[in-house]
Amino acid sequence: MTDDTIAIGRPTGGTFAFARGLLDFERYGLVYVWLLLILAFSLFVPSFFRLSTFQIILGSQATQIIVTLAVVVALLGGEFDLSVANVVAVAGTATVTLNTDFGWPIGITLVAVLAAAIAFGALNAFVSVAVGVPSIITTLGSGTLLMGLSTGWAGSAPRGGVDGGFVALASAPIFGLPLSIYTTFAIGIALYYVLEHTPLGRAFVFAGQNAEVARLAGIRVDRLRAASLVWSAVFSALAGILLVGITGASVPAVASGYLLPAFAGAFLGSTVIRPGRFNVPGVFVAIYFLVTGVTGLQLLGYTGWVNDVFYGASLVIAVLLTQIVARRRRNRALAGG
């Protein structure tokens, strides 16, 4: 298999670089598949091509994207964080419980929840980085532990009654979209900026790729690994808080639903924009691609298992397509050279 010998003779720079760049199927393949899907739905599904559809598609993924970014941050740091979904759940439970049972004002509650998330992330970091337990075990264990403690403390029932102003704020519409989705985009952009446009972010990505080289270059790799776990916990907690804002309630039982889609989004996202590397824009593309398909099907009246079939099939086929096309173009380039 010599196909990974990409790109070295590829001319860079030049006037047409930008246009040629957009035609780069390897980088933008999934984007095109997504656009095609939108086009197809727009043509064949009567109620699809409407502002309200796009508002729903955009707005409904606020929390899922944040959780996926949490997973990506951990993965970039070379860590597997399986506790994200539990943190979402417990952050939600804690927000509602502190705000209602304990009567803490919502501001203090949120600060407390985020502080607890930092502490939890630091615990993961201590066990994984300082002691050296693989993070996949650490977070599987600590996530289960956290969930158990939370259930013992506040029960497993859905709880409502959180500060009405907070709920109103989270769903306050700006240009037809709830504030929550702007939060998600703000987090995404900030993360993109840090990862791509600051020395810290670059060092972080490098350390995730080859820790030893980064260490010898004087980068405190352990700190960055620890930070990745802390930030992953913080992002997850933010998602949990946001979810309370959106639903007005905490629902501990369903948090587990966030885990697999988050990993699917992270890995699917790593096949676009920066193929082979976890990246922030890729996450957005991946998650919106998947939800677009499901939404279109629902508009066509397909629900239930058909949705599962579509979700599964599109996940596989989308990546399959981009890979095959990218490979064919590469081979053609090879033959031409």
Binding site: G9, R202, A203, Q209, E212, L216, L334, G337
Partner: protein, 524 residues
């Protein structure tokens, strides 16, 4: 010994053991090997030489079935011809065995697995006869006087031990199959005294009728060991001759395509200001080492394998924690035991490690990302990474250090071994350190580039940087350094300078009390 005395069986007389013709290979439109042809007869030791990136490893990877050449290539092994693409195990069954550049070992796997996986005796799901297999590995390793626990993961071995594990694998194949043994820069990781043992083994194989293809940048080795030479330049075969017909100078001319005499740059005098003071440094394999270094001074560090000189660079730069001692530079003073790489960098100490596979670069990241890692802050202005500036600086660095191809966005893994080494040297020199610690900086680098690197080292020293050059190449050290520190059994055996400094003096000091060539190849 030269080809003259040997019965080399190739050409019209018998079928050659190996014949490759019409091999062309391109990566992403760039042809790196053009219509290459090579043949080796039974009992022949053939050298394959060329500059970094000239296509040697590529040719070898075609032979091993790893790369698929463009249509038209012809391969014959012992008279039987094979169609490309060929599966690796078919090639192995046909009698080809390999020792790849950068060794091709799995660090987490044990010595035993690294040597034997894919070559266990018996059927695929038949029980492995552990006793016999262990014995087999132990026997080959013993031939190189290597005694390592077979269950130890390779990552815990020293570079020399690792090299021999890879060599052992090649020999096991060669002895089992007979045919052709291909060695791609096997001596890059080996100190002088171990090279002898390897050569003895290679000659033994050749004498028994094996064909050998041998790649190296060390011309003395080529002249000493091989019968015939094939020279690659920019992907083309430019010369094919009997080694005995060539002088070293002629060989260099064929390789570089120009007339270059081996030279060492003239040394500028060291400055008076102290740059580094090491006091009572102890750690893995090193006990109570003290020395001082002035600005602009080049200090060689050498000794026998396992004598401690290989760990000194890592102790000095905090990569391996020390037990005791203090280190002082212009920027400050620190307890060696508390030294970590980030601290070392703040003290102005930079390290170029020898271990390219593990410790030098992120293979999947671009040349730009690899090169700018230690100096990211330079490109961060007004809240943004100036990627344009970064790219320009990388391009400049690639040009300066003659890295080819000079494409900043290409992934590091697409560079040939020697070009990677040049890039990484450039990466550290650009940080303008106070003390530059180099471990085998010219390992795997062609003769032309080697001189360029020496010139660079000399230049940077002349600009006031203190350089520590840890190497087993005593000739280079003798010619390039102001002083050479020789370690023996972890302690300072002596420091040579001025008239005392010569290749023989370094070797004498290294060996004194051991008896020539008798030292074990392992760790302390």
């Amino acid at each position: 010994m030269t080809a003259a005395g040997l019965a080399v069986d190739h050409g019209a007389g018998g079928t050659p053991a190996l014949r490759l013709a019409g091999a062309t290979m391109a990566f992403g439109g760039v042809t790196v090997l053009r219509d290459a042809a090579i043949g080796i007869g039974r009992g022949e030791i053939r050298a394959l030489v060329g500059k970094n990136g000239s296509g040697k490893s590529t040719l070898i990877k075609i032979l091993s079935g790893y790369h698929r050449p463009q249509p038209g290539a012809v391969l014959e092994i012992a008279g039987r011809s094979y169609e490309f693409p060929i599966r690796p195990e078919r090639l192995r069954a046909a009698g080809l065995s390999f020792i790849h550049q950068d060794l091709g070992l799995v660090p987490e796997a044990s010595v035993l697995d690294n040597v034997l996986v894919g070559r266990f005796a018996g059927g695929r799901v038949a029980p492995i006869g552990w006793r016999g297999e262990r014995e087999r590995v132990r026997r080959v390793l013993a031939r190189f006087e290597l005694d390592v626990p077979l269950d130890r993961p390779v990552r815990l071995l020293s570079p020399v031990e690792r090299a021999f594990v890879a060599i052992a694998r090649g020999f096991i194949d060669a002895e089992a199959q007979g045919g052709v043994l291909v060695l791609d820069e096997p001596t890059a990781f080996l100190p002088q005294e171990d090279v002898g043992r390897l050569f003895q083994a290679i000659r033994g194989l050749a004498a028994s009728g094996q064909a050998i293809l041998y790649v190296s940048h060390r011309l003395d080795e080529i002249l000493d060991l091989t019968h015939t030479v094939t020279v690659l330049r920019d992907g083309n075969i430019v010369h094919d001759d009997v080694t005995a017909n060539l002088t070293e100078d002629q060989l260099v001319r064929h390789i570089l395509g120009e007339d270059v005499r081996t030279f060492y740059p003239a040394l500028a005098a060291a400055k008076a200001e102290p740059a580094l003071a090491v006091d009572g440094l102890s750690g893995r394999g090193v006990a109570d080492v003290s020395f001082a270094l002035k600005k602009g001074e080049i200090l060689g560090v050498s000794g026998l394998a396992g004598a401690g000189w290989e760990t000194l660079p890592y102790l000095l730069s905090g990569a391996t924690p020390a037990r005791a001692g203090t280190i002082r530079t212009e920027a400050g003073r620190t307890d060696a035991a508390a030294l970590r790489p980030d601290r070392a960098r703040r003290l102005g100490i930079a390290l170029l490690p020898a271990d390219r596979q593990k410790a030098s670069g992120a293979q999947a990241l671009s040349l730009r990302e690899n090169a700018s890692l230690p100096v990211l802050g330079r490109y961060f202005r007004r809240g943004l990474m100036r990627r344009g500036a970064e790219r320009a600086a990388t391009a400049e660095l690639l040009r300066n250090f003659q890295v080819r191809p000079a494409i900043p966005e290409a992934p590091l893994r697409t560079l040939s071994g020697g070009n990677q080494q040049k890039l990484l040297l450039g990466k550290w020199i650009q940080t303008k350190p106070g003390v530059l610690v180099l471990h085998e900086p010219t390992q795997g680098v062609d003769v032309g580039s080697k001189q360029d690197i020496f010139r660079k080292i000399e230049e940077i020293a002349a600009s006031g940087v203190a350089v520590i050059l840890a190497s087993a190449e005593s000739e280079d050290l003798a010619r390039l350094c102001h002083r050479v520190l020789v370690l023996r059994r972890g302690a300072v055996a002596g420091i040579l300078e001025g008239d005392q400094l010569s290749e023989t003096a370094i070797n004498d000091l290294s060996f004194r009390g051991h008896g020539a060539g008798g030292a074990a190849g392992g760790t302390q």
